[in-house]
Symmetry: D2
């Protein structure tokens, strides 16, 4: 990792920490507290947990004169780091009305002060710099989760609160035609290289062999997905993985999350409230099972994460800067985009989340960050409209269980040549 | 029912409604929202539901010019009145961050204004007066539940928030000796009579035959219950009902709710926080299973609700005015009391909650108030320190499933002569 | 208890033990093994468990030279007697293919030989005689359960096996008109007295006061129950206890157990196979919830167990000998009966299963026989077509949870005068 | 597929069908019926289901004059082929005492007669031949499952029945030293080719790139696994995948399936009964989670399925004929083996079960055979002592969820060079 100037590190710290606060700006205090399903954490918890991360792995580890803000907080705000000590049960995060939102804000200020002092005044080792860098990316990941969770909380409230009013000019852009972008059969290199930050799961860069394939230039739209639904997609088992079929049966699912049919008309809940379904927008909030079933119905398939990475490098790098990221504060997927490999919506790949060759989890608590989740999950690539632009990379691997739908994800199709 | 003067009715309305607000005074906004278990409703919900009760059964039914405060509220705040229309799922009350606490307060004000106008200006029928009276008692029941739920929320928070600071002079009174109060074998009349309000489940007044028995002059204390625990009460099946034994095994229970052992010392959580166990205080927060097991261990038994009613009429009526009620704002059970049949702690009886002879549920939604719950529950009698004094009667029947422990209840023993 | 002659005791022992074997006569070996729900035990288990009862409580306790048939059997065939040692999990009884049916039969022979020797040769104490008597009644209870369980196993097999072919002349008798049998208001004595055997739960005989009431002379018929169903009984919450309503919703219940609708026609599974519903037969296999809902729909109610006992003593004693018992081997409820208080079908009462005054569970393992189940169950009275005639008494109290339906029970209605 | 001579096809049919009967030879009728967990099917069910497969996909599809043996059997014995019509619930297979074992045997004979006639007399199309071939392999797979299920049924019976007595000379062979077999970095071809049978999931043969690696010449032994246990392997989270850690916690697992500790000594249940743990035998009945944790504890890893296939082709082909297969009727893993890539125990690989490039599920019901299970499972390779020798191939892909342990599987380790 390259050594940053203290003032630059300090500026990044403040920017990232402030961005978290900006995201919870529209919330009322009540919104900070609840946990409607175990996957959704209370917004308050995200604010405290990201703070705990810096406190625990930077301040407590390094600053000899640091005093904990509150002795109960490590217990309350550790997520899943067994090495870092006992934790409050994840499923019960939504039962904790205290510490209050104000106390959590005070906690952030207290830790920020100590962190900023450390960054500006201490002579940080490269190990310390690395952990701070991880803390930045960690907080950015939670910024994204915050938006997932806020959307879930609001989207499951029958009054459908609005997080952010939308401008009038919703995308009326026509859907562009699908074009197939080819990648030739051959050996390719996959994974991170260079001296910029990456997570351990992007390593070790290695060679893979790919068959020749083509990938779509854009995501599947709501209108296209509606065609799948109308043609009986949810009632024809032949498109579905067995687990997925059982899952839609037992949960009585017939449409993506946040879709509602009222009097024969489809509506969709977004951060700007409940609105008429925009058929031009890319479809979001579908599980891997649904994405895979859609692809099979269309006679196509999802790309592997390796195919995706190669295609994104070849065709999509412009969207690394031009994509729809949280920085734009659009807060919804953008219709009419082409080659938006980065931003807009995460894209399910047909790859299970498994270690790359030579993968080694780091020692200590941070070794629990990624490696221990490498089972029963599928990889997503590319980032979403809730991802900070500075957070994403072509080699970035996101991962969720195949039945998860509250993330901001969509579908990109592929086929062999 | 005797016809009250409008101004007296108005004064009662305001007093009862204000009392609810007084009880939530110590809460922070975050405390109003959560539902840690399905039995515990968010405090905000109680505030809105009691308001919905007046709105639905008085204002909407009677006042032709009344406009709903919010069209979604009847759906959100109906509890279990199937006749009154669809309801939001009980288990999901704690997921609703909106309407906010402020909106719920505004809802209360809006309905209060309409109710007070109706009370003062309308020529109320006796049916209307009855429903308003039910509304008063309904709100008082929820005031008590509010305190159960607040205690549960605070008592399951590892920071153990304080609801109300306790005065220094905690009861140091010595425990009085048990005296056995006799009632002769014979026929007795049970149930409500007279033109004062009662719930339908207290009717019809009827004759029962009782064997001669004796009942204890006071409740079982924490110290006595600790003896039961120390002598292996939780590990000797012979004291336990089969369902109770299975229940303590599968929930790994070894003490009452809110008891915590730290370094060999027992502590107890109360509305004034986590404190050293007061062995002189009456034991609280035991299930029917535990109460029954304790009684068997002691070679005694719980009284039936009929025995209790007769004994309370004979020996306990003074506590109808002198008892430890919510009006005193002590907010904990009182030690050293004798003959406190009323107030302090509800008392489990050995009677299943079943209809009295000739019982008839009233027509309409209010018919769902009591009758449909007459199965799988046990009767408790006498009220608690969370009960308004004006709410309790000797014939009052409270009821809970035998595994419930978050209510404010204790144990009174009996034996045959 | 009166002292029987050894040869009479021996004759009874053989008769009762042989009757168990007679009941499993129609089974194939495969039928002996399975446990489709936790409440249904494998027939093989009943055969072994009743044998274990004699082995444990008579032979092991008394005969100093008795050797266990197999050291693993006490562990395998103890049901719920915690005092008698560890047990194989009840829910896993249906996983045990071994010991085989043949081994269980051999076990019965081995224990029978020892028991018969003891009965004929030993000088039995009155305590021993009592335990043997309990063993008789215990085996008779399991004979009845055997038939419940066989019916369940066969009735949940899509091939609907026949246990016993029915004669051609099925009851074509017209349904007799309901007559209301009155009992006057007053004090009555309830519970067992005399020197014949009874279970502990029938004691102590005591006085109760009853309001004047009337009870139906016959059970509700399938035709009458069908009227309830057709008039929307299962979809109108106002007839239902809250727990019952939730239970029929979550289990999607719309008719009694073993009823099947095929092409608009109702069929019913019985021990003689799947047949057209006989509308004249008394309705069976309804839960307490359904019985209670039916009664409310009819504007009536279920009798209490005290009312039932008094009415049965007054009007029904003839059926103690003439009733439809297992001895007749009819193996189905009989239509067209009047005053059949005993036999035919157990009758739900509106009484919770609770101890009588002065009830005391016996010491030791047999104290677990009845007392520990006195919670969350409702009392049934009168016996069924699966009950041995010599097993029933007017004071006999049967009990099941209110959602149980696989027992052989029906509905008798009552009303206050 | 090459066209076989009718008489050879007929001989294979008889041999495979007879082998199924041979495997159930030691069972008593009771053993055929039960289903202790949903994954374990009753032996009777396997016998009928494999017969249904031929009946449905060969006889009903092709033989115009074929009459079903029993109209209810297709409903009862279809497993998961949604395209083939409605099915009896999988979880309730163990509740069906009928059809009896004798009827199932008669069913087999009836179908065998029709099949043998068809094979000998009809002019089969290549499509028909293919389906028959699938039927052979299908029956062989169920032969293996039969043994898993019999072992489970016997191994969960506290009397530990013996399936097959073991000869005296249990393996006393010393464990051979681990040798590391190298494979060079490079591109390799994976998947089936040629005109012999393979399952669809082994296609399409394709190129992969592998890093250089080494693989162990033998499986991990019980003794080595015991070292892992003794050194705290089950209580140190750092070796475990997060899902695996949660799984061992909530199931309180501390050793492989079928291991029992008695008085400080480890025993192991096998098809020859409960015996002292043989530390030289390869460890079996570990989940993927345990296999992966063991590998991490050892500082090594599991091979991918591609690595495994290349290594097996390079080093293990001799065991294709010399391996420990069901044909040898040893009925337990063999100790002291080297290079036994085939037979003995299936080997967990680090590969998720996913489609190969260009994979296409066949049309119709047989398309449900493999493809729809390609999610949430891990690949195993190589076969076991319950696998018929004629069933296995180097490209054969077996697959199970990572928490499954009742299969006959072990652990082979790998490492990068």
């Amino acid at each position: 990792l390259r050594q940053p100037l203290p003032e630059n590190l300090h500026a990044r710290y403040r920017a990232i920490r402030n961005q978290t606060l900006r995201l919870v700006g529209p919330l009322q205090k009540e919104d900070f507290v609840v946990q409607p399903i175990v996957d959704v954490s209370p917004p308050k918890w995200h604010l405290a947990h990201t703070t705990w991360f810096f406190e625990t792995f930077v301040l407590v580890s390094n600053a000899t004169d640091y005093n904990l803000f509150d002795k109960s907080f490590p217990y309350l705000f550790n997520s899943y780091y067994i090495s870092a000590g006992d934790r409050w049960s994840r499923a019960d995060r939504g039962n904790l009305t205290r510490p209050s939102v104000d106390e959590v804000f005070a906690y952030r200020e207290y830790v920020d002060e100590a962190m900023e002092k450390l960054i500006l005044e201490a002579d940080l080792t490269s190990e310390q710099l690395h952990v701070i860098e991880v803390g930045f990316h960690h907080e950015q990941q939670h910024q994204e989760l915050l938006l997932y969770d806020i959307k879930y909380i609001f989207g499951h409230n029958p009054t459908f609160p609005v997080y952010k009013g939308d401008s009038e000019n919703e995308d009326k852009l026509p859907v562009i035609a699908i074009k197939w972008l080819p990648i030739k059969k051959g050996n390719y290199h996959i994974g991170h290289e260079g001296d910029f930050f990456c997570f351990d799961n992007e390593l070790r860069r290695h060679e893979v062999h790919l068959e020749g394939f083509e990938i779509a230039n854009r995501l599947v739209t709501n209108g296209e997905y509606l065609d799948f639904m109308k043609s009986g997609g949810y009632s024809d088992h032949s498109f579905w993985l067995s687990d997925g079929w059982d899952w839609i049966q037992s949960n009585k699912l017939e449409c993506p999350l946040y879709w509602f049919e009222e009097d024969g008309e489809w509506k969709m809940f977004g951060l700007s409230g409940l609105k008429k379904l925009n058929i031009n927008e890319p479809v979001a909030h579908v599980s891997y099972y649904e994405a895979d079933a859609y692809a099979k119905w269309a006679g196509l398939r999802l790309p592997t994460e390796f195919e995706w990475e190669m295609a994104a490098m070849e065709y999509g790098t412009e969207s690394l800067s031009s994509g729809n990221f949280v920085d734009d504060h659009l807060m919804r997927p953008k219709a009419g985009e082409s080659l938006d490999f980065f931003g807009n919506l995460w894209e399910w790949t047909a790859s299970a989340y498994l270690p790359y060759p030579y993968y080694q989890a780091p020692p200590g608590a941070l070794g629990e960050y990624n490696g221990k989740f490498m089972i029963n999950q599928m990889v997503l690539r590319g980032g979403s409209y809730a991802t900070p632009q500075s957070h994403i990379r072509p080699t970035y691997r996101n991962f969720f269980q195949p039945n998860m739908r509250w993330l901001f994800n969509g579908i990109r199709l592929a086929r062999f040549i």
